[in-house]
Symmetry: C2
Subunit: 657 residues, 2 copies
């Protein structure tokens, strides 16, 4: 039986595209961009989940899908009831609303960018030797003015002709054709600056210099010997899977791959109590700090412009994770309306997370010690040059960590000989990586012991000095502020400001305070693009770290539904300005995980991961450490070994557990 | 052959104490507190290491030790040349300088605290049933006035008489005897408040209520079944050990257990280039925010007051780490001058750190993928109630992570019925854990491509808006400030301030900038105790996050050499005020890793780890990613398995490496 949370099926996707094809009357066929299932209405789902939990008859919830498609230059969005097989709404979008990019279109442009006569003429001027080839990286256009056409900026590079894995990013060229994505028409040729201003030059014969390669066939590095480290789970994993529902160490939740977000996690319960209704990456924007045209338009919205699921890697056994691995797939539409399976875009597995707690009673030398087993839900998306690893990690103490790793290859710009620029790092000969930011918005739709929640923040402040109670001036206390209306909360690391989602209706019997989950996130520099810039106006979410809105169905994406070439944010920029109550109501928390990336030479030609985290931790949610039920860490369980030359040393685990 | 970095030997320790005994003329025997080897002079060591590297004759460096001891109430410090067997200096310390605590003394007080007639009389008043027993946690006195005696504040608790592992921290009593540590004399009885002010009451009969237990025998929890996850290294580890020198994946360094710091790491090289001369935890202070006497004096200095090595856990195979483990021991003196071995206080092993980098060429679907293998140097210290896990973690991309986990048991205060206080969290019935801070100072004595280094910091700032070069207001650049004199650098998270140790004499050929290592640390709330408090004056290091001093031998400890009941900081508070040049000289960086701990109910009765990190990453130190020599991550190497029910799914690692 299909669960309302289940991802879109092959049949549902095909029915959706068929209904749209059938409804299209004119001579032009629909050109599909994106289809996925629509989130079920939360109100209905709460009833459904409650019935499921109590064994009552399940209410009916229709399966719904959304579809984006073009007819000619007109962009449409339709909603389809795939349970009953009919279109609910089907609307041409206003001029200026531009749909996301889809792989088939981009590949066509990529091909054109090296074969179009005008580009070929430009390539001719390079007088390239036969051992190099030209490669194109197509980019979303970004925004610097009103533009109704969907444009693709083609950044051009050279690579070693003899090897398909040669790193073209090490050798950017100084011309960049622009194409119209729908018509595939050539729009113009941009020339790229190579110095400290916007001066450009005509294309010259290529002056040969070496590539910086990452592929082991090409990088010239001798492999450092490394001995295997194998994770064995001889008795199998500790989690079970029922459809898309996972049960592990007291946790229960649904993992649902989606084409836009990669995956979403629903109905998270721990030890029988609800924590989160829906957890997802809601948007990511990557604005660059190079002010020179056309680089000033480099601002990707990796979810809204492309789709994190659609860009998902097919994860491979033994390559991406260790141990016993469960995989889930993503399903997308192609431009013809066919269903395309991207296998294994989500992997689920356990890992060891070091120690979870330890205490040694120094009087008896008896330790109590538990290791932290973690359950990981992972997806890895390749957005052209960059890779993003998104891990949601659960532990046995009620913590949920949102762990992001950025890796892959820097998007590079050409440099003239002996030039350095103040907005970028030279990462190879005549190649520069501009400073940029990665701003990710995570949407946390909480259900802390129920659906009626409140967002608060606590500051830690000094007590008044030289008082009767504080004569030694050492005292400090916390000060709580309640978020009553939608909006944002400013960062305040020096008061140790911490954000909490509380349930004012449930008082912890021990602390005598409302039960809570804390949102832990370090203070970061937010969006650098000026308030008076498109980059800023398009991504309001990236200007503040913590946002609160009141829940409404279908408000899932922080920068709004359509981000490609958007002129303004239609997400938080709108929803967080509504004058309505969010206290003891149904608030949604949007947490911006942002980092400014000043590239290092060491980030090239492939970047060691840079990891960042947000975590959700119970804060007076339980009446004691919920991990006391974890088995003790013992040698009979873990089977470690002594270092060979130290075999004579003796040691014993004094715990007799 | 003994290496100058080697830890103190049994013979050296015994020779030291014997020389002191021999030199003691009066009737009173020396009462030993601490002996360890002295760091060799850096100037000599640089010559030594250079000779070692180039195969030249090694210069002679005498082995030296320091010794702290008491004769009666007089505190002495001596330096001993153990190579030639003579005392170099032997000085009675000024009145008011108080030595660290040593286990034998503390145990004696702990025993006295339940057997002294005056305490027994107080216990009598509790009219305890036979199933409970009284337990004492002795605390350093802290400082609230001038005090020449070394005092011990005995916090008293109840525990289950039937089990040695019963959690006494769940049941604090409301009286607290104070003893003089050297004479073991009873000083006074303090009575503890249980309400929102300092009102105290006479000891009453105990009104029974339940313990909150952590030990699996007692905690009443059913163990959640968990299947083994075993780390196998069938071909052994990838590191080698020669004495105390470790070689692993291009890294070379010495790991030296010390009685005060736990361990120090010396002469860190990566791929043949020097990075750090000496890396160590230099001090930790834990001030509490409860203003009520006597809690206002709760401020531990876990290194200076006790010693992190002396408090080290004997780590046990299969309990504290997975895989193939090498152990090292700590050696300390007892009060009689005998040598005491604390086995296995330091463990060294490899672990998997997830992915190190990945890039999937979307044109060919070929991934390049490497896992991050990590090398961990770990010590775990038990300082009465708390455990601290100190991990120094090396990876294959040149990164060094200082990873700290706090766990163990909260130090608790008694609460009257139905009371809550604004400076603490109720963590059980009538038991409160006061807000407090953990402030750790890490001493980084850098050697970035040589010993002549400079400390700088970079801010990321917006370019001027509406200019010819920045018409779209998106540009941003970095701004560098050079640290010329000793002092501190303020945090500035909103300008993404990053601290770097650079070598102005070595220019990276790619970036054209000086080679550098970046010190990555999130901005945190620093010491809350007011400037006008002893807590603050004693721990200047904890008021700022980044300090720079000019190197001098024997300046190792951030709050100064003697912290127990100190009235003022004799470390950074003095050294960072010297007016001298640190640019292109021999700077030392002191990084404060601080966190304000607002206890959660979930932190009791044993606390899930709270992890914090500082990392050192190469920043234009290499001419490309130094981890290209890491083998690719493949199934034949990693041997993962499919989740049982998903065996039908097929997947392949497209990489043919």
């Amino acid at each position: 039986m299909v669960h309302p949370f289940d991802p879109i099926s092959d049949a549902e996707l095909q029915l959706t595209s068929q209904l749209i094809k059938d409804a299209t009357k004119g001579p032009e066929k629909p050109h599909f961009i994106q289809i996925d299932r629509l989130d079920p209405p939360k109100k209905d789902m709460i009833r459904y989940l409650e019935a499921e939990r109590t064994g009552k008859p399940l209410p009916h919830i229709s399966r719904m899908t959304y579809v984006y498609y073009y007819i000619g230059l007109d962009f449409y969005k339709a909603l389809v009831n795939v349970t009953y097989g009919h279109i609910i709404t089907n609307q041409k979008q206003p001029k200026g609303v531009i749909g996301p990019l889809i792989a088939e279109d981009v590949q066509e442009i990529e091909h054109l960018a090296t074969t179009h006569p005008l580009v070929k003429a430009e390539i001719e001027k390079l007088k390239l030797p036969s051992h190099v080839r030209v490669v194109c990286d197509p980019w979303m256009n970004g925004t610097d003015s009103k533009e109704d056409r969907m444009l693709i900026q083609c950044y051009m590079y050279l690579a070693n002709a003899a090897h398909p894995e040669s790193n073209h990013y090490s050798l950017p060229l100084k011309f960049s054709p622009v194409f119209e994505c729908r018509t595939k028409k050539f729009v113009r040729m941009d020339y790229l600056p190579g110095g400290v201003d916007e001066t450009v030059t005509e294309t010259q014969a290529w002056d040969e210099f070496p590539f910086v390669e990452y592929h082991p066939d090409l990088n010239g590095e001798a492999i450092l010997p490394l001995k295997p480290l194998i994770v064995q789970q001889p008795e199998g994993p500790s989690f079970s899977v029922d459809g898309h529902k996972i049960s592990w160490q007291g946790w229960e939740f649904f993992v649902i791959p989606t084409v836009r977000e990669g995956f979403a996690i629903y109905d998270i319960h721990f030890k029988g109590r609800s924590v989160v209704y829906r957890l997802s990456l809601s948007e990511m924007t990557v604005p660059y700090g190079d002010p020179r045209a056309p680089f000033h338009r480099k601002q990707a919205f990796d979810l809204g412009d492309c789709g994190f699921g659609a860009s998902g890697n097919s994860l491979a056994l033994g390559c991406d994770c260790l141990g016993v691995i469960k995989y889930m797939d993503c399903r997308r539409v192609n431009t013809n309306g066919d269903s395309v399976l991207i296998p294994n875009t989500v992997c689920l597995h356990e890992q060891d997370g070091g120690l979870l707690y330890k205490h040694t009673n120094y009087r008896t030398n008896v330790p109590v010690i538990a290791r932290r087993r973690e359950f990981v839900v992972q997806t890895i998306a390749t957005v052209a040059n960059y890779e993003y690893m998104l891990n949601i990690i659960f532990d046995q103490a009620g913590e949920i960590r949102i762990h992001v790793r950025a890796t892959g290859i820097l998007s590079t710009m050409p440099l003239d000989k002996d030039v350095t620029v103040p907005w970028g790092t030279n990462v190879g000969p005549r190649v520069m990586a501009a400073y940029h930011q990665h701003m990710l918005s995570f949407r946390i739709d909480p259900a802390v012991d129920g659906y009626q929640n409140t967002v608060v923040f606590d500051d830690v402040i000094r007590m008044e000095k030289n008082t009767k109670l504080n004569p030694y001036n050492v005292g400090f206390v916390t000060e709580r502020t309640v978020v009553e209306k939608p909006g944002y909360v400013e960062q305040s690391p020096f008061t140790n400001r911490s954000y909490k989602i509380i349930n004012e209706n449930k008082i912890n019997p021990i602390s005598k305070k409302p039960v809570a989950y804390k949102v832990v996130m370090p203070a970061r520099q937010m969006l650098l693009a000026d308030e008076d810039s498109y980059n800023n106006r398009r991504a309001q979410f990236a200007t503040q770290q913590v946002w609160v809105t009141k829940y409404r169905d279908n408000e899932l994406y922080a920068a709004g539904e359509f981000t490609n070439q958007s002129q303004t944010d239609t997400g938080l920029g709108v929803w967080a300005r509504r004058d309505e109550n969010v206290r003891n109501d149904d608030p949604v928390v949007w947490a911006t995980l942002g980092f400014t990336h000043i590239p290092r030479v060491e980030d090239f030609p492939v970047m060691p991961v840079e990891a960042h985290e947000i975590s959700l931790v119970p804060f007076g949610f339980f009446d004691k450490n919920p991990a006391l039920s974890v088995p003790q860490s013992t040698q009979s369980f873990n089977k470690s070994q002594y270092f060979p030359e130290s075999g004579a040393e003796s040691s014993c685990c004094k715990s007799n557990l």
